[in-house]
């Protein structure tokens, strides 16, 4: 085990974080991942929802099929219409925290034309100082009229964030919930095989309902699933008088295991298994039990077919709704280590142990 991410993984994280892949248009991300893993994995496929699946054949020690998913998509916008003055109306794709939206640089449409939001300046709106909602914002790409805008309604708009290393362990950028998960899954698929087959699925449309995972899981028919993702870290200054203030998830505190996420209960047997592996291997973990936000993919996976025991596990991320969020690279490396050890030790009897 290593403490820090290898250089090639860090470079891949940079590429993936800066790549554009709004829910429903994940092609660039898929291409990047495919190019990276195709040399080692012969069995790659893309299904009707655009999921990229790879199978790492087991050593034959177990007949189980285990699915590990990492979603490729990020939140963004879609072009709704173009005004006569060349300004673009948009609608949200995924759930936005608009506190972070107004000044973020954008890439508009298939051509990835640079754009910025425009809104009423402070000099005229200070008295109505409040969060600016997406419907009140228009995108300016520098066009003077409707004909000057290349993007058509239905094309996507993504945030353009520069991936930046704040320190040797903390990075700033966008889409870490999906792209760090992709790095972890690439790591698992690129290493030594497990006793069982590993079905790795890079999924689409996780942020608009876990849509890609639905069919990927149906196709793979796994006996257990792990959904890799990100969890909002809340080790931040705040108002101690508020009941929700108490920090639960800390940046640098280790991978996060989800006992409860919205209405998604983590499978207790998988959770206890991973927890005991973490303890045995000395990997720090954090437990997430929150009603605040629901990530759809884990919820989707558990209800596929007759039901799949599912655990969501991921990295802590500060300012998860922001295109300039923070992630700790040691947490990501620990996630890879913990998943590798947990998969290696996963046997059918783990799922049959009724200790919960």
């Amino acid at each position: 085990m290593t403490d820090t991410l290898a250089n090639n993984q860090l470079e891949m994280l940079r590429l993936l974080s800066q790549a554009v892949g709004v829910s429903g248009a994940e092609g660039d991300v898929r291409k990047l991942i495919r190019e990276t893993i195709k040399a080692n994995l012969s069995d790659l496929s893309v299904d009707t929802m655009g999921n990229l699946s790879a199978v790492l054949k087991g050593t034959g020690g177990s007949v189980m099929r285990v699915l590990v998913s990492a979603h490729m998509d990020e939140i963004g916008f879609m072009v709704a219409s173009i005004n006569d003055n060349g300004l673009i109306n948009i609608v949200d794709v995924g759930v936005h925290d608009n506190r972070y939206t107004p000044t973020q640089p954008l890439l508009v449409g298939k051509d990835k034309t640079p754009g910025v939001f425009i809104w009423k300046p402070i000099h005229q709106s200070i008295e109505q100082q409040t969060i600016i909602e997406s419907e009140d914002m228009l995108i300016d790409v520098g066009a003077s009229d409707k004909g000057g805008v290349k993007a058509k309604p239905g094309e996507y708009v993504a945030f353009a964030s520069r991936f930046t290393e704040l320190s040797p362990t903390v990075v700033r950028g966008k889409a870490f919930d999906s792209r760090a998960a992709c790095i972890a899954l690439i790591g698992l698929l690129s290493g030594d095989p497990f006793p069982h087959d590993l079905h790795g699925v890079f999924t689409t449309q996780a942020l608009i309902g876990g849509r890609g995972a639905a069919i990927a899981a149906y196709r793979a028919e796994p006996q257990a699933a792990f959904s890799l993702t990100g969890f909002a870290a809340n080790d931040l200054p705040g108002d101690p008088s508020l009941s929700d203030y108490a920090p639960i998830i800390r940046l640098g505190g280790g991978p996060v295991l989800s006992a409860l996420d919205g209405r998604t209960v983590g499978n207790r047997r998988l959770l206890e298994h991973v927890r005991s592996v973490a303890k045995a291997k000395g990997i720090p973990i954090q437990l997430h039990a929150s009603n605040d936000i629901q990530q759809p993919e884990g919820s989707r996976l558990k209800q596929i077919a007759a039901g799949i025991p599912t655990l969501m596990i991921g990295v802590p991320i500060r300012y998860m709704g922001s295109p300039n969020s923070l992630m700790n690279l040691t947490d990501l490396q620990s996630l890879i280590d913990l998943m590798r050890e947990s998969l290696a030790a996963l046997t059918p009897d783990v799922l049959e142990t009724h200790n919960a």
Binding site: T103, A143, D239
Partner: protein, 350 residues
């Protein structure tokens, strides 16, 4: 001279009010081949003198554009997070999620954070966010932050210029470095033309906190005429009052802060080169360097030229490069037309 590259470099340089040195040095490099000598004012404003061809003592005109930008300053350090005060008048709503640079013992990149939405009863806050809600996260351990950062360290937006279609640029500090670029364009235009007056090009400091650089340089230089340059509101949906199209040329101020005869003379210069020059009326204070310059010493006839800009006081202030070039060309045309008798025609009303 490439106005676009010059402006791009200035926009990405860091120089909040009172800490303008890095920008001053960039401007000095750009003006070096265009002026005869430099001076730096006691508060840090840069003055470039371009001598005229008339016989000494020559009358002088000051062109004044401010080089400082809105910023933040460390107010308190709380468990490794930085609480902030504003330095100037940036729009607080535009800070969350913004990459910033903190000038501690070394330059430290960070991000402006807020507590998660569920930990903020937003519906109970008619005004949200306010500066007290924000903090800066450097992603560093608490002890390292304590060692590297001190109360009073300054902070700027750490963003790059975005080149939009056509000749539009979006970035920080276009207010007012777009106008510094217009002064550079004017000096460049004058380098191939004969003018009898001395030109004092001033990149002023501390405009965003009270126009202190312009006020002190007007006294120090005691020019016969002054043109202050700043940005004005460009057309965009939802705006009340006067706004001006991007790319349609400079806008000249009109009202008690500005000398009527100088205003008329600039219009005449615009007519000579068939340039559009829209009027923007101001009831009193223009909110620019023109306000203190006008009443320095025994009074300085002052005009205000403005470049239209969208998203004022944000990291994506948007301008059209053509407006900057035209502003520079207009000033050069006006200065070339200044003769020894010009001041005798400068009556407030006749």
């Amino acid at each position: 001279m490439d106005v676009k590259t010059h402006l791009l470099q200035m926009s990405e340089a860091h120089g909040p009010s009172g800490y303008e040195a890095p920008v001053r040095e960039l401007i000095r490099q750009a003006w070096q081949p265009l002026v005869d000598s430099f001076d730096v004012g006691k508060l840090g404003s840069l003055i470039g003198l371009k001598k005229g061809s008339g016989s000494a003592p020559r009358p002088t005109i000051m062109l004044c554009a401010h080089m400082d930008e809105n910023g933040l300053i460390v107010r308190q350090i709380e468990d490794g997070f930085l609480r902030i005060s504003r330095l100037g008048g940036p729009d607080v709503r535009l800070y969350p999620g913004l990459p910033v640079m903190v000038y501690g013992r070394r330059a430290l990149p960070g991000v402006v954070g807020l507590p998660p939405p569920y930990a903020v009863p937003i519906e109970k806050k008619p005004n949200y966010p306010v500066y007290g809600d924000l903090f800066i996260d450097l992603g560093l351990p608490t002890a390292e932050v304590a060692e590297l950062v001190s109360v009073g360290d300054v902070i700027t937006m750490d963003t790059q210029v975005i080149a939009l279609q056509g000749d539009r640029l979006a970035g920080k500090a276009m207010d007012d470095r777009a106008c510094v670029a217009a002064v550079t364009a004017c000096l460049d235009g004058l380098s191939s033309r004969k003018h009898s007056w001395d030109v004092l090009a001033v990149a002023s400091v501390q405009e965003e906190v009270g126009s202190w650089g312009a006020q002190t340089e007007a006294f120090h230089l005691s020019p016969d005429l002054a043109i202050a340059l700043d940005v004005t509101f460009a057309d965009q949906p939802g705006m009340d009052g006067n706004t001006y199209p991007l790319g349609d040329g400079p806008v000249i101020g009109l009202g008690g802060n500005l000398h009527p005869a100088l205003h008329a003379a600039l219009h005449a210069a615009a007519d000579r080169i068939e340039m559009k020059l829209a009027d923007e009326p101001f009831a009193a204070d223009t909110g620019t360097d023109a306000w203190p310059i006008q009443i320095s010493r025994n009074g300085i006839p002052t005009a205000l030229l403005q470049v239209p800009l969208r998203n004022m006081h944000s990291s994506v202030e948007t301008i059209s490069v053509a407006d900057i070039e035209r502003t520079g060309r207009l000033m050069a045309e006006f200065i070339v037309g200044l003769d020894a008798d010009f001041l005798t025609k400068m009556v407030w009303d006749s």
